[in-house]
């Protein structure tokens, strides 16, 4: 067992590729390409950043003649803000758990046992993007109102549960795609078989093998779900729940500077989530393999 030819080192050392001598025309082409790219990138940045900068600047104008964070102070100290924001955060966490519990086993099962059903499942997960939310909300209300066979809207808890299911439906396209993309990077079938032959059951396979390997993908789906739930209006308004979405709409109709401050806060939360996705990727050493 000594004198092995396959140590790491030879694979790390590769011969320098032979590059043909550049012609006189090639360097000019290379310079024009990146320059144009930077111009378009700059235009894109201006297009996206300018409204945000304008909005941020406007949110600082609450105090006359000077910039201040009065609008932010006003929003953050509003008990209604705190109540609705907390409610939506809790609801989004419930939705994330619900969505994961629904999507991860389903996506795994489709990959392992029902690959032929994948287009059908993908189509079903896309339906919430095609069917207007108000249609789904009215459907829920008709199915689960107080005079139905399952009167979930009769109590606050029942309505909250209904809202969580509604949110999970809305988040389905994002959650499914995120997890399915994560699973696509793995040889799910062989890893499952490798775990099975070592004595593992489905629970171990799901939580010790699949979940850690698609954790970054799940986080992406989770943060997208978080953003969607935080800003969602139709479901919450029609089910009459004290969520952050209706509060933002109400503030927009009744205040001047606070809506801009709220929008900046919402953007910051979304960007914070995106930063966390990146950070999560770095926390798991095995994910470096794909870089």
């Amino acid at each position: 067992m000594t004198d092995r030819p396959d140590t790491l080192e030879p694979e790390l050392v590769s011969p320098a590729p032979t590059v043909p001598a550049p012609t006189a025309v090639a360097p000019r082409r290379r310079r024009v390409g990146p320059a144009l790219s930077w111009v378009f990138f700059g235009l894109g940045m201006v297009y996206f950043a300018l409204p945000l900068i304008g909005m941020f600047e406007f949110s600082l104008r609450k105090r006359r003649g000077t910039y201040s964070f009065d609008a932010y102070t006003s929003v953050l100290s509003d008990p209604q803000f705190q109540a609705t924001f907390s409610y939506s955060v809790v609801m989004s966490l419930v939705t994330i758990v619900l969505g994961m519990a629904l999507v991860l086993p389903a996506a795994l099962w489709v990959r392992i046992r029902l690959p032929a059903m994948r287009p059908v499942v993908e189509f079903i997960t896309l339906l919430p993007l095609v069917i207007p939310v108000i249609v789904i909300a009215f459907g829920y209300l008709r199915m689960f109102n107080t005079s139905s066979f399952l009167p979930m809207t009769g109590t606050a808890t029942g309505t909250n549960i209904l809202l969580a299911f509604g949110y999970a439906t809305l988040a389905l396209p994002y959650m499914y795609r995120a997890i399915d993309n994560g699973l696509r990077t793995l040889d799910v079938q062989t890893l499952t078989e490798a775990a099975q032959i070592l004595g593992a059951g489905w629970f171990t396979i799901l939580f010790r093998i699949m979940l850690p390997n698609v954790f970054t993908a799940i986080l992406s789906g989770a943060f997208l779900t978080f953003s969607i739930v935080l800003g969602e209006y139709v479901f919450a308004a029609l089910l009459d729940r004290p969520a952050f979405g209706p509060y933002m709409i109400w503030t927009g109709g009744n205040r001047a500077y606070e809506p801009a401050a709220l929008a900046v806060i919402a953007f910051s939360i979304t960007w914070g989530c995106m930063g966390l996705i990146q950070l999560a990727g770095r926390l798991f050493p095995h994910t470096r393999a794909s870089r």
Binding site: M1, T2, R4, P5, D6, T7, L8, E11, L186, D187, T190, L191, E193, A194, A195, Q196, I197, L198, G199, A200, G201, T204, R208, I209, P212, N213, F284, P285, H286, R288, A289
Partner: protein
Amino acid sequence: MAYLAITHLEKSFGPTRVVKDFSLDVDKGEFISLLGPSGCGKTTVLRLVAGFETPSAGSIHIDGQDVTALHPNQRNIGMVFQSYALFPNLTVAQNVGFGLKVAGMARGEAAARVDEMLRLIGLPELGARYPFQLSGGQQQRVALARALAPRPRVLLLDEPLSALDAKIRVSLRQEIRQIQQQLGITTIFVTHDQEEALSMSDRVVVMNGGIAEQVGVPFDIYNRPATRFVAGFVGTHTAFDAQVTDAAAGEVTLGGTRVHLGQRLAAAQGEIIHLALRPEAAHLGRAEGRETVLSGQIAQVNFMGSIIRVTAMVGEAALTLDMFNRPDTPPPPVGSTVDISVAARDFIVLNAG
């Protein structure tokens, strides 16, 4: 009953019968190779033994226990996959210890077993690395250690060397065989590489179209192929059609030449039988002890380093023969007529298969 008994195994996918009435008895500690071309059913047999597929008919017994209906995680079988299948989120040590943890082994005992396995595969210092930090050969060794750690009753190897480059393949196959003999573990090895199968196995099962064409020790498989398929798949051969002139005396006519095969033939007089001849059995020119002399015209000369492979047309048959490369003996020119001498006992009489 054999340690691993596969009895009348059948497997169909829809209307396609992939495995047809496959039976095999494997003794404890034996190394068996399933050899055959793609689609011959060898991997399906392995997956049936592992429990990943359910047989359409037949049974599988391990150490007297009927495991046909058991799930893969209930069979206590180890398996090494072609693509390594190491868990990317676990370190080498965690991968090797996975089966032990699942089985509920105490932490200290499991750590000692992992250490023992890593020493066995010669990688005791790599326990903390992740799979992506290992070369292909190292990953496959870890996969082998992981499969062996829970002390399985049977080890299944599904083309474990196919994804590796040639040099590592040769060194690793020797290591696998050495470890298998050291542990005395019953092993089934699936491969389409005849050299691997012949060099590693106690016995080889040559498969074709879902059936076992021949089961035997490597020496017999190569030197006494039972069917035309086996002769063609294992090694190179020249096929001849010969007419039986005296079945009892083992005499046939081959391209106008009478040949005494030295064995009684199970064919009627006048019947056409199939003969095969290995390249190393034919000799360019006349030689003592090779009483049958055929006349042929050189059609092709391939220089292969230590040997030169010459193809000569003998009647309708393209006879292939190997000659050692000697700097003072250049190969005959293409188009020249030569004598080719053969010992009649080197002709292999084939069944129709």
